[in-house]
Subunit: 139 residues, 2 copies
Amino acid sequence: MAQPHELRERGLRLTPQRELVLAAVRELDHATPEEIAEKVRQTHPGINLSTVYRNLETLENVGLVQHNHLGHGGASYHASEEVAHLHLVCGTCGSVGDAPIEAALNFVNSLSEEYGFRTDVSHFAVYGTCAVCSQAELS
Amino acid sequence: MAQPHELRERGLRLTPQRELVLAAVRELDHATPEEIAEKVRQTHPGINLSTVYRNLETLENVGLVQHNHLGHGGASYHASEEVAHLHLVCGTCGSVGDAPIEAALNFVNSLSEEYGFRTDVSHFAVYGTCAVCSQAELS
DNA sequence: AGACCACTTGCAAATGATTCGCAGATCTAC
DNA sequence: GTAGATCTGCGAATCATTTGCAAGTGGTCT
């Protein structure tokens, strides 16, 4: 037999639902479980929300996807291949901006040196006010 | 009449529940609404959870308390007087460590200069692995 | 191809956290 | 003290996520 599938390689069964969830995560980027479910349903309406939740958990366990916390509420998911970056969440307008991990390099290093704390900067949002809203406040 | 009360000064009514919630927030630090309610109930059992939620919201509106996001789930509250600091949340053991805001100063400044983003570092947790758990992983 | 069994799915119900609606209680100003 | 707006308690509604269970399916072995 030819190439082993990436899911099978990790000891997972190859089900259509699972592949669809993974594809949706890769395509959407920063998507909530709800959004992922909706995306999947565009092509395969029968898929249950709990299946999406369960597969996200499963895929996270084998390291294909990861979640992080952006807004005030729940988690959002992205594929592991994606280049990690910072998420700059604006508390005023809710926008999510990106910044390269390198911007936090010194910060991460100093936490490591001074507190022995290994920071995963991309897991939680960096919260604040974006340029646009900062500007607007001045008026 | 003597001194105006801090709550009254801000246009709020002075109710026992409200004072108790504020006192509990000040005393507990980093407390969830649930914990605050429990604290308040130790002395005044009749107080309703929704009253706690409503008062936290109200107190936040007038700037006496603030919330932030530490664990994966809900919010935790602290009094505004409290000195702001970073929260180092360990994803492995769940501990929450503190670090002074100054540790993030360069980081905050560079985000400000490069992206115009005004960061509120204390609002969201800094996520990673604490020294103890990092050590444990090596074994 | 056929059978077996563990892994998955769908569905509905449970859960946990937070919010809402409303009637009655209570603050404050007068 | 009275009036009216603001709170509170309570129960129900909501939202996101999880769980139990019976039925379905994928992978393996023959």
